[in-house]
């Protein structure tokens, strides 16, 4: 045994169960499948943003030795349409190209060089169409239409929600601030790009191993796109090499399925290289946000009006839901009695928008948290004070009018931050900047709602089996993309069932073996599946005790205890091993399942929309307060983040190590979003197509981070916890923006805050002060 085995205890920093196999290179990701006779599959992509497809020339590619098959839309048996809510994306383009990454032709070949040669030999004839690249312009009358049959033109969704009477309320404000903010695409840049493996099993069923956050839901999309019966599809989700929302939905799956149906019985492998991942994968939606915030003289927030424009690119994906969640967080974690929040999500021919950790909340938090600082400055109030004064408490309403009935730790986070030495000693630190350096500190306070909202059920089915060898086998239902929920399952079940790592087994999501448990997203993985698992484990424990008490001839099961590998009757010392017990139970008895559905908000909002709204409102929110120490170089405009503090309310911490992993990782991605990740698109074409041009943080770009939990028990959560996966990515951009303003009085309205943009802003503000 290479690593010491520990009893699982809630609250302990138990090392992750998957760490060993990953650190030895033994763990197989979807990208790691090979076999003696496998076939490579890849697609030819459009390369133009908007065009009518006229004809495709594949003969030269088909004739190439080593090419098994060249497939076009004509070879697709089903609807050739995929999508999560709206099925608007072709698997292979039939009529119209809507973005540069649209897939046109699928090629199967013996090896990579042949595959690449074949792709180069494919040509297609197209008629270029006028294209649209701006979400506000896309909504104008004569804008070119991305989907001609959409009755709303280029509008995917318009939502308008209000509380009170914002017009009247602005008249009652003594101070009003306006601001406009623009945030760009963000690329997930997971280390494992989109990858998968597919084959037809002996019984004719299609088996797909994919790097996917949504194995259960994928089957529905694949079935309808390829015209298959859902029972004929099995999807297996190994550990993902990162996802962050970019693998929420179909990436390679339907293409792999089509390939496997045409590979003459041979397994098929598809693995997007980095450039293809950049070209074809979904990205964080860019947004333009117009804010108007009004307050009373004492700093009490009174009125908020915002107009938000989101760019979904060519397909709906989950963009309407992203905008809905953004709108629910547009006012931040503050009490604002009068609000009017309007959002428009528009189709364009830009790269496709989709889920990315934060799901709309980073965008609006970037805006609102800067507005709060701008307001504080105008009122000559301390930025922490104004937040403390207005922070929501349990029982208040959020900016769309939902009552916060569950744990609400915004104030606790702010107060913990206020007492921290980093806040207390900030002035001294700022005053000791070196030559040509300016220092500032910046705050951000945020909320993050977890789950799917009131319509789509946020549900999970846990399953535990006592194997015939006496091990507890946990069937994880939710993909583990690195967040450690699979390990957490072991910890939860291990704690309740008194077992250690040696006496437990973990099965990763497999639609043939695990039970449907929803997506790995929305900060709901441990909350929802954990709640199902706790109930399953407790029920199973009782069942095992009842059988054991009979077998041990003990009158009641009261004094029985589960310990690793056995059940012991404490008073008498009699015991039975779990393997013996398993041999004396019928197989069906040895499996226990339990269902859980997360609660939803009951309130009706004052909401209007152009089409049905999913994903608003929520009922459970995590909170956080962030503080950053920033130093900017006056000569180069370069920003260095010296320290980062986050204080988070995510309920009780069941594994302090995993807690820190999530917070630290989210901060790093948020800092990239703030400082270096400039995803440049021109006329629909990505100009930053790889990791040498799109800069994600390295070891030298992320500071030492301090992360403090505020452990307020959330009674509805498993062992009192709330979602943690996304909250921390919301803070860095505004915290950095506020720190920059604190350091040298400038705000850069368009992020990321690259040295060029910072230097320009400095020169604009004080052309005489900045040395050339």
């Amino acid at each position: 045994m290479l690593v010491k085995s520990d009893i699982f205890r809630i609250g302990h920093p138990v090392p992750r169960a998957d760490a060993l196999s990953k650190v030895t290179g033994q763990e197989k990701y979807a990208a790691d499948y090979y076999s003696p006779n496998f076939v490579w599959a890849a697609v030819k992509r459009a390369g133009v943003p908007h065009a009518r497809l006229k004809s495709i020339a594949v003969e030269a590619a088909r004739k190439l030795p080593g090419v098994l098959s060249v497939l076009t839309h004509k070879d697709l048996p089903g609807s050739n349409r995929q999508g999560i809510i709206f099925k608007d994306q072709p698997v292979l383009v039939d009529a119209k190209i809507r973005h540069c990454g649209d897939a046109i032709v699928l090629v199967l070949a013996e090896d990579k060089p042949t595959l690449n040669k074949a792709l180069l030999l494919i040509n297609f004839d197209y008629e270029p169409l006028p294209a649209i690249f701006d979400p506000e312009k896309a909504l104008e009358e004569r804008a070119p239409l991305v989907h001609e049959n959409n009755p709303d033109g280029n509008l995917l969704q318009h939502i308008s929600v209000k509380v009170g009477d914002v017009k009247e309320a602005f008249l009652e404000c003594t101070t009003i601030i306006e601001g406009s903010f623009e945030v760009p695409f963000q690329e997930h840049a997971y280390l494992e790009t989109e990858a998968g493996w597919a084959y037809l099993a002996e019984d004719g069923r299609l088996v797909i191993v994919a790097s996917t956050q949504t194995p259960f839901r994928d089957r529905f999309e694949i079935a309808s796109a390829l015209g298959l019966n859902i029972d004929k599809i099995r999807v297996i989700a190994p550990y993902l090499g990162g996802a962050f929302g970019g693998k929420d939905g179909l990436t390679v799956q339907s293409l792999l399925g089509l390939a496997a149906l045409n590979s003459q019985g041979r397994p098929v492998k598809m693995w997007w290289d980095r450039e293809e991942s950049f070209l074809a994968g979904v990205k964080r939606l860019p947004a333009r946000m117009y804010y108007r915030l009004g307050a009373k003289a004492d700093g009490t927030l009174h009125a908020l009006d915002c107009r938000l424009y989101f760019d979904t690119g060519p397909y709906a994906h989950l963009s309407s839901e992203i905008m809905a969640l953004a709108m629910e967080h547009a006012g931040g974690p503050y009490r604002i009695p009068h609000t009017s929040i309007k959002g428009w999500c528009a189709y364009t021919n830009n790269p496709p928008g989709g889920p990315f950790r934060g799901f709309g909340v980073p965008q609006v938090t970037a805006a609102m948290e800067q507005m709060i600082d701008m307001l504080a400055a105008k009122l000559k109030m301390d930025p922490l004070e104004i937040r403390r004064q207005n922070a929501v408490r349990q029982g208040d309403r959020n900016c769309v009018g939902v009552t916060l009935v569950n744990s609400t730790g915004a104030l606790d986070c702010l107060e913990t931050l206020a007492a921290h030495p980093l806040w207390q000693e900030r002035k001294k630190w700022k005053e000791s900047a070196g030559s040509f350096k300016r220092r500032g500190v910046g705050l951000a306070c945020m909320a993050h709602g977890s789950g799917y909202g009131p319509i789509i059920p946020d549900e999970a089915n846990a399953k535990i089996e006592l194997t015939d060898e006496g091990k507890m086998r946990i069937f994880c239902g939710v993909s583990d993309m690195g967040q450690g929920n699979a390990s957490t399952c072991l910890q939860i079940a291990g704690d309740i069932l008194g077992q250690d790592a040696d006496s437990m087994e973990l099965i990763l999501p497999d639609t043939d073996r695990s039970l449907p448990s929803g997506s790995a997203s929305a900060s709901r993985c441990t909350y929802t599946y954990g709640n199902a698992l706790i109930r399953a484990a407790q029920a199973f424990k009782q069942r095992l005790f009842e059988r054991a008490s009979t077998l041990l001839m003990i009158p009641t099961s009261d004094d029985l205890s589960l310990i690793p590998g056995r059940i012991r009757h404490l008073p008498s010392g009699k015991e039975i091993s779990l393997s013996q017990l398993a041999q004396l139970m019928d197989p069906p008895e040895r499996t226990c399942t339990h269902y859980y559905r997360a609660p939803v908000a009951q309130e009706k909002l004052e909401l209007h929309s152009s089409s049905k709204v999913f994903g608003l409102p929520h009922i459970l929110f995590s909170y956080a307060a962030h503080l950053t120490y920033l130093e900017v170089d006056e000569l180069t405009g370069e920003i260095e983040i010296k320290t980062y503090l986050s204080v988070s309310d995510c309920g009780r911490v069941i594994n302090p190590q995993i807690y820190e992993q999530q917070i630290q990782g989210g901060i790093a991605q948020g800092l990239g979003y703030a400082l270096s990740e400039d995803f440049i698109v021109e006329e629909g074409k990505g100009l930053t197509p790889d990791l040498s041009t799109y800069i994600i943080p390295t070891t030298l770009d992320v500071p030492e981070m301090v992360s403090i939990p505020v452990e307020i028990d959330e009674p509805t959560g498993p062992f009192g916890l709330k979602g943690i996966g996304e909250i921390s990515i919301n803070g860095p951009l505004p915290a950095v923006a506020n720190a920059l303003a604190d350091a040298c009085g400038i705000r850069v309205s368009r992020s990321p805050f690259t040295p060029e943009r910072v230097l320009s802003a400095m020169k604009e503000k004080a052309p005489h002060e900045v040395k050339p």
């Binding site: 290479l2 690593v3 920093p13 090392p15 992750r16 998957d18 760490a19 060993l20 990953k22 650190v23 030895t24 290179g25 033994q26 763990e27 197989k28 990701y29 990208a31 790691d32 090979y34 990579k112 997930h188 840049a189 997971y190 280390l191 494992e192 790009t193 550990y239 993902l240 090499g241 990162g242 962050f244 290289d273 980095r274 993309m481 690195g482 967040q483 450690g484 190590q657 995993i658 820190e660 992993q661 630290q664 990782g665 989210g666 901060i667 790093a668 991605q669 790889d690 990791l691 040498s692 994600i696 943080p697 390295t698 070891t699 030298l700 992320v702 030492e704 981070m705």
Partner: protein, 139 residues
């Protein structure tokens, strides 16, 4: 085999050693890091011919039969592993670093690993792990 076959493909496809990962194919991310004659190299940029007469160590080769390498132990213990895809390359870069600098400061560790991208961790626990391993190896 063709002399221009990429080393990463030899490892993963021909030798079934899938511990070495490909993240970019262009030498940007460091996920494909291996040791060649004990020094870290990017296997996605190396061709078969360059291995003539040289020894290669992959992630599968640094643990002994009954013990992990101290760096591997430290990575597990300190929570440095999340999705894990960057980890084989990260660990081997750290092996190389500690060979050259057995007692690095945190900043030196960051500099030594600056060619290995990680999207999950924010690097802090990786630095913690390398620091702890250096202490253990040194003692």
């Amino acid at each position: 085999m063709p002399s221009d076959r990429r080393v990463i493909d030899i490892l993963r496809e021909d030798l079934n050693l899938t511990g070495t990962k490909e993240g970019c194919g262009a030498g940007e991310c460091g996920a494909c890091t291996i040791l060649v004659d004990g020094e870290s190299r990017l296997s996605c940029l190396m061709l078969a011919a360059q291995l003539e007469g040289r020894s290669v160590t992959t992630i599968e080769g640094i643990a002994s039969e009954d013990r992990l390498h101290p760096l591997q132990e430290a990575f597990v213990e300190h929570g440095a592993v999340q999705c894990g895809f960057c980890i084989p390359g990260m660990v081997l870069s750290a092996v190389d670093l500690l060979q050259r600098n057995p007692n690095p400061t945190r900043m030196e560790i960051r500099q030594g690993l600056s060619g290995n991208l990680c999207r999950c961790t924010g690097y802090q626990k990786i630095v913690d792990a390398v620091k702890a391993a250096a202490r253990k190896i040194g003692s």
